[in-house]
Amino acid sequence: MLGGCAEDPADPTTGGTGIGGELTVFAAASLTESFTRIGRDFEAAHQGVKVTFSFAGSSALATQINQGAPADVFASAAPAPMATVTEAGNGDGEPVTFVRNQLVIAVPEGNPDRVTGLSDLTRPGAKVALCAEQVPCGAAARMVLDAAGVALTPVTLEQDVKAALSKVRLGEVDAALVYRTDARAAAADVDGVEFPESAEAINGYPILVLKEARNTTTARAFVEYVRSDTGQAVLTEAGFQAP
């Protein structure tokens, strides 16, 4: 994974298309399920390609990329972390938005507290987890709460959306604001309650081939694949919206 993986475009194993070798994709934690599947599909479509993912908070990934982490493609859950990468001159071309995501209120399965909207989260004794404002889901949560004029005091500000969700799954909080896709991925344990104010903070997910990519041809092909009908179908099924 650490270098030495660059493929010669004329390498016969790539079948002449130049697509082959190892590809390292840094992707937002909220893309874990859908990108894992897209990666497998992409490998199946292109013999000899091995896709490796690093899923984490977008901002942490952006920091790692700017500190020289070996990555070919970066998919961020919001424009801000992507901007830190492009401003540092680490992008190859311009990022493109490939999906959008919206917040829902994640509640335990069956919605025992009958939560129907944001205002229910301010009930006395209600324990709510939000993401910290430093990460995209937290920034989006802040925007929708402000837009709705709801003064909500969470019990914790989690470091990423999956951590906030797991606090609901464990029963430690009564609700959390997470992406629709994360609630859907955890549908066995949680319900996602839609609320109108979530339209105030629809996150666009940008994707970009990185300048330091050792495998630009394959990296571009992967980005194209994500944006293709096949890729978009996987993402839509996960709960993402078209860009």
């Binding site: 920091t63 990460v135 019990v155 500000l157 464990l170 029963g171």
Partner: protein, 270 residues
């Protein structure tokens, strides 16, 4: 003096290069990351950053919780160490292994385990919630518990070692002179192993101060209540590398000062 010099030179000359090279590399490997932190520190803006309210809040909370955790470890850990060192009971080796598990356990696993016990649906937590309406996660108490869980083995190991090394004849003499078991423990044993307890407590405090994984898993992250310095570092890294470096530098400084004070007692003991 003049005599000592040639002796030392000869000794240095005898150090095999096969040891010297890896030893130097090892030292560089351990120290270089710390140097990296110093090199990248934004010294010019350091004073303002240090006095930012969020930094001081996190530092104060860290110092308070680490101290409370150390206190808890002393109260529970010293008797436990005494039991391990002085009383022979079946399964002692298993007990010793179990209570030192947090030393090697990934702290985040400790956090999950604590949630499953003290969480709202946990073994003890659900009872606390239904009986007293008390929930532990997301409170400062949870931070103290998480820190104590990972730090207590450090204290126990240090105190048990000191107890095993101590001369039991003093305790026997006290008993012969009519002192009760408790009096013997408080007036003879404790003063005898005081240096070991001090070393263990300092190490325990330093470990508690640096605790991250169990805290963020079990106690969550809320400024002023559960956001300790390591958590603040992690979140600062999301948006502001310089802030993360400054916070890291504070933790590093505190740790080095603490460990330097321990040098003779713990690190270079034979």
């Amino acid at each position: 003096m003049t005599r000592a010099v040639p002796t030392r030179t000869r000794r240095t000359g005898r150090i095999p290069i096969a040891l010297l090279v890896p030893a130097t590399l090892g030292m560089v490997f351990l120290v270089l990351p710390l140097v990296g932190l110093l090199v990248r520190t934004p010294w010019s803006t350091l004073p303002q950053r240090l006095t930012e309210p969020g930094v001081l809040t996190a530092l104060r909370l860290s110092v308070q919780t680490a101290s409370l955790a150390t206190l808890l470890c002393l109260v529970l850990g010293i008797p436990l160490a005494w039991l391990l060192a002085r009383v022979s009971f079946p399964g002692r080796r298993v007990v010793r292994a179990l209570i030192t598990v947090p030393l090697v356990l990934p702290p985040v696993v400790g956090g999950v385990a604590l949630l499953l016990v003290f969480g709202r649906r946990g073994l003890v937590g659900s009872w606390l919630d239904s009986t007293f309406g008390v929930t532990v996660p997301f409170t400062t108490t949870a931070v103290v518990l998480a820190e104590a869980f990972v730090a207590m083995p450090f204290l126990i190991i240090a105190v048990e070692g000191a107890l095993r090394g101590a001369d039991t004849r003093y305790e026997e003499a006290a008993a012969t002179l009519g002192a009760g078991r408790w009096t013997t423990f408080t007036h003879v044993t404790l003063p005898l192993v005081a240096p070991g307890i001090a070393a263990g407590a300092v190490l325990c405090w330093a470990r508690a101060l640096g605790e991250f994984g169990a805290t963020i898993t079990f106690a969550g992250n809320y400024p002023g209540r559960t956001q300790t310095m390591p958590l603040a570092v992690y979140l600062a890294l999301e948006t502001d590398l310089e802030a993360a470096i400054v916070l890291s530098l504070i933790l590093l400084t505190v740790s080095v000062v603490i460990l330097a004070c321990l040098r003779d007692r713990w690190i270079s003991s034979p």
